[in-house]
């Protein structure tokens, strides 16, 4: 490391430090590991394979300050119309009880902001915290593990079905000054349980912001989880997100990562299929314009036999935006009879938009069915002409095709209000 790099690194880490004053008592061991890892971890750069197409240098040299929360925010524009849910609102990473409400899933699941954890839930948290996202693996995970205090622990109790989705709204308020925030979530879906979780990343204000989020998810035997991430921040807000999912035998997990906003968005999504007959669905879409940059980095680890995974990511890029898809399926030697599919499809709407796509398969078992592929093209001109020849104005026809392309990604979402909302968000994106 050069002296300049060292200075940048230290001042970047330094900006996160004041949060440490919160005096947390849980996860001490992992936090200590993270703190000592921070002595050496570097800000990832282009020489790192996992960060090859996403440059953080400029972003990490900006001035941010750890922002405070306010209750005087109108959250109405960020709610999902027609969807009954438990709602937890975090402003600049800090839980705001006045804006939140729970109680729709009483007795079926527990929802606890991290600073309120006690008793059995605290023990459960302790035994799962930092078990998936290794605090020593990269600087963002380390910073998050060391300093993040905002976030939630959700446990869906054994055999229980959630009656309503749980909506986590992470709102960045950069209206007064640049905002830096972190969030940390842990979800445990116990044996045979079933739930839908939604995480919205939204922002207000014209100043720049950065949110560093880590989420760890355990899906127990025979359990089902649907997890939807809606990332619709302003073009000044950046997000570094790492989500790790650990699945036990015969469990099913569906993740939807929909990126519509943000200046720079990096999603690391890592699945570990550690049981037989596990089913994993990774769906994603991004719709970008301006100078937006979205990087979806995924890993699917097939560790046991008879697993199934299906990954579909679709990107639409306009103007000077950049999309990255870097996905790897790893089939372990014991994971016979694995079915694993991966596909990344892209549409470039301008000559100046970029896509970097890298689908990868790494297979060590011999009796498997795997496929992967990527396509990139322009909007289907013959379809566009067909719609226009039927009287549909060009702009409306283009929107129709964009929505149709991205719509495939969300059509499996169970909750109708949620699916309809996402569909509308996608449709409005390029209006």
């Amino acid at each position: 490391m050069t002296t300049t790099q060292q200075t940048v690194r230290e001042s970047f880490i330094g900006r996160f430090k004041p949060v440490a004053a919160n005096g947390k008592s849980l996860g001490t061991e992992a936090r200590n590991q993270a703190l000592s890892a921070l002595d050496t971890l570097e800000i990832p750069g282009r020489k790192w394979e996992a960060w090859k197409y996403t440059d953080l240098r400029e972003l990490s040299q900006r001035e941010y300050s750890l922002a405070t929360a306010s209750e005087n925010i109108d959250i109405q524009p960020f709610l999902i119309p027609g969807m009954e849910s438990d709602l937890l609102v975090f402003v600049n990473g800090i839980f705001v009880p006045a804006l939140s409400h729970t109680g729709k899933n009483e007795g079926r699941l527990s929802i606890t902001p991290l600073h309120d954890l006690k008793g059995e839930d605290a023990a459960l948290f302790e035994s799962h915290f930092a078990q998936l996202a290794d605090p020593q693996s990269d600087i963002f995970t380390a910073l998050n593990t060391a300093y993040a205090s905002g976030g939630v622990f959700i446990c869906v109790r054994k055999g229980q079905e959630a009656l309503a989705p749980v909506h986590l709204l992470f709102l960045t308020d950069a209206s007064a000054k640049a905002s830096l925030s972190q969030s940390r979530n842990l979800f445990v879906v116990e044996e045979g349980a079933n739930a839908t979780l939604i995480e919205s990343s939204r922002s207000i204000g014209e100043n720049t912001s950065l949110r560093n989020a880590v989420t760890e998810i355990f899906v127990g035997e025979n359990a089902t989880l649907e997890y939807v991430k809606l990332q619709a921040d302003t073009h000044q807000a950046s997000l570094i997100d790492r989500t790790e999912v650990y699945q036990s035998q015969s469990s099913r997990c569906f993740t939807y990562t929909i990126t519509l906003g943000g200046e720079l968005v990096r999603n690391s999504l890592i699945f570990k299929l550690d049981g037989q007959h596990v089913e994993s669905h990774l769906l994603g879409a991004w719709l970008l314009d301006g100078l937006q940059h979205t990087d979806n980095y995924t890993q699917v680890h097939h560790m046991q036999p008879n697993g199934f995974s299906n990954e579909l990511y679709k990107g639409i890029m306009d103007e000077k935006s950049t999309g990255v898809f870097n996905g790897r399926i790893h089939v372990y030697r014991d994971a016979q009879k694995t079915n694993a599919y991966q596909s990344n499809r892209n549409i470039l709407l301008s000559d100046t938009a970029n896509i970097f796509t890298k689908p990868q398969l790494e297979i060590y078992a011999d009796d498997v069915k795997c496929s992967h592929g990527a396509t990139t093209g322009r909007m289907d001109e013959s379809a566009l002409f067909y719609l226009r020849a039927r009287g549909i104005p060009e702009q409306a026809a283009r929107l129709m095709l964009v929505r149709a392309f991205a719509g495939e990604v969300i059509e499996g979402i169970q909750n109708e209000a949620l699916r309809g909302y996402l569909s509308e968000m996608i449709e409005k994106r390029f209006e």
Partner: protein
């Protein structure tokens, strides 16, 4: 209603239409026949407004307005309809959504009220009967997974929905079996009216046994080389196109 005079059109520098002149009056059915590569489908595409073609000379007036200056959607609004030779599959766009947007766009252009969901469904069910379209097809994505015959019937169904004044059928008979040909032809005949004109582009005479034309034109090397009544189609069927080609040279 449609005046085409001295139309020249090229694609990638190659001239396909080379001085085509044609006049279609209200309620008339014109058939255009001709050997492969004579410019039949180019004519259909140019009239519908496909951007791949460069118009180098000539004029097309539709209801007295300059057709060539209009966007494809404006042409549809003005009453021009092209039944595609190869209808496009559009995954993710449902037939119902597509048709409702299409019908209401055209209605809006024509200064008519936008149809309510209920009225639209009523209209759709009524017109579906004309082409004996399977009810389930409208639940699918546009043309996706449709058989060749279903695609062509779907074109005529859309034609019925949009109530155009000029219908261009681009080789609608290609890829149709006898039954589908009969259904499509009967549907077209039901849609004939004193105000509605047809331009039927076909390679074979058999379609014209069902949709009887008022005029038959033979297109060769981008020009209409001969015009006659419906009996010309029979003559072409019997003698082939060689005598036309020889005559043209």
């Amino acid at each position: 209603m449609l005046h085409i005079s001295n139309l020249h059109a090229s694609v990638e520098g190659k001239e396909i239409l080379r001085g085509l002149t044609l006049e279609i009056g209200p309620g008339e059915v014109h058939a255009i026949m001709g050997p492969n590569g004579s410019g039949k489908s180019t004519l259909a595409s140019v009239l519908a407004g496909k951007e791949d073609y460069e118009i180098t000379d000539g004029e097309v007036l539709f209801h007295g307005k300059n057709l060539l200056d209009m966007d494809p959607e404006v042409r549809a609004g003005e009453g021009l309809f092209l039944a595609f030779q190869y209808p496009v599959e559009i995954p993710g766009v449902s037939m119902v959504n597509f048709l409702r947007t299409s019908v209401n766009s055209v209605r809006e252009y024509r200064g008519q009220d936008v149809l309510s969901a209920g009225d639209f469904l009523k209209l759709m069910n009524e017109k579906k009967k004309i082409v004996e379209l399977d009810a389930n097809l409208t639940k699918r994505s546009v043309n996706e997974g449709f058989s060749g015959g279903e695609k062509k019937r779907n074109e005529i169904f859309q034609m019925a929905m949009l109530e155009p004044s000029l219908c261009i059928l681009d080789e609608t008979d290609s890829g149709l079996d006898i039954d589908a040909l009969r259904i499509v032809s009967e549907a077209v005949n039901k849609l004939r009216s004193p105000e509605r004109s047809f331009l039927v582009i076909t390679h074979y005479q058999r379609l014209l046994e069902h949709i009887v034309p008022d005029f038959v034109h033979v297109l060769y090397q981008g020009r209409i080389v001969t015009t006659g009544g419906k009996e010309l189609a029979l003559e072409l069927e019997a003698k082939g196109y060689d005598w036309i080609k020889e005559g043209a040279i």
